[in-house]
Symmetry: C2
Subunit: 257 residues, 2 copies
Amino acid sequence: MTDQHTILWVSAHPEPQSLTHQLRSDGIAHLQAQGHRVMESDLYAMDWNPVVRAADANIPQDQRFQVAADVRQAYLDHRLPDDIRAEHAKIRDADALIVQFPLWWYGMPAIMKGWFDRLFISGFAFGKDADTGMRLRYEQGPFVGKRGLVLTTLGDRPASIGPRGKSGEITELLHDILHGTFAYTGMSALPPWALPSADFIHEYNDAWHPLRAKLDRLFSETPIAYRPQFTGQYTEEWELVPGIAPGETGLSIHIAE
Amino acid sequence: MTDQHTILWVSAHPEPQSLTHQLRSDGIAHLQAQGHRVMESDLYAMDWNPVVRAADANIPQDQRFQVAADVRQAYLDHRLPDDIRAEHAKIRDADALIVQFPLWWYGMPAIMKGWFDRLFISGFAFGKDADTGMRLRYEQGPFVGKRGLVLTTLGDRPASIGPRGKSGEITELLHDILHGTFAYTGMSALPPWALPSADFIHEYNDAWHPLRAKLDRLFSETPIAYRPQFTGQYTEEWELVPGIAPGETGLSIHIAE
């Protein structure tokens, strides 16, 4: 008997018959069969607009667009466009955010990047409390309590995304999403699930069974132990204090051993 | 007396009066004054479409879109859309590619990511030689001889992108672009230029003078020493051989000391 949760599954692949889509529909069906509620954002099917423009902030055409400040104000004034508000409502409801995409140039497809660019607005996904001045990010972020999971497929072979792989170790390669977006907004970032050599999957279950097992741990797997920002591990200048991992550098120093 | 070169300056900011645009126009004028030829791709002004779709490959509507293979074939058959072909011509001509953007969620804005997604096609930017089977990437890539430079602005403070900074050391944070895109296609990736605390620049020259000095080194600065793939430093499984940086992990092991 598992607890029932609400999950938002966001995916980005242009071909409905792709492996990405098959894994998506099987994954969603599997989560639903466990009693979870699953919301979907299939960005290609939605024809999602990924480009931040002044129209997002609803400012007069001749006014200089100050991106972060203006979209923040539009959010606070409830003046955001409908497509953004609809996605915001889903994110608010979600206990877990699943983000699924083919790895293109070692990152998200543009349509997926623009989902974050347009939605993760100051006031909604991070910011500063107007009354207390409290900085709303990392362990103080608005999305504390939510889990974030990346599912990705790539052409490179397995060892290439391992600890010494040429393509870059996958957790470090996805640092912008896992740490800079999920953890930054308060989410617990789960270890990503990556399917290498995806063009050479001849037996579908070789992809699906590992994914199914991963989904079964969605609410039980231990998240990546990114260090909290406001408990003395970082200086006021946002640097790891000298006493922790002394002399070490690299993205992984931000993960507690 | 400097040698004269051809440069492609690609930028992505929605506001023509932004700091990004001012630095861009001053940077371009400065390079031109030195005798260089500068081509421009101002992605917002061009209303660049960043989303890879089957239309890029010009395949029949009912045909399953196999992204990498189909756009490769469209490239080889000269069937790509005009917007892609126009950018390809610029990239072919360029001795240096300058990519300028505000850092959003620790990466490129979607419109910029989609410039790479749609343009960096197998056959054009990487691939395999049909006759010899030679793998066209890294030091064998089609863009050997070109230089790649990232210019970015961000809100976080300077130490946050330093070696032990909370936001992530900037060269590792941009590994997808610098290594996975520039170096992968054969370009020499220059150390990136980043302007932190960009919202607190009150004296324009505090931004412009360092950028100008950086641009003056565009063809003389030593590139990041990413390791070549095919000279014995990596195994056939794309892993760094055990004898190099023994026991070490992290993205920076792919840079020669």
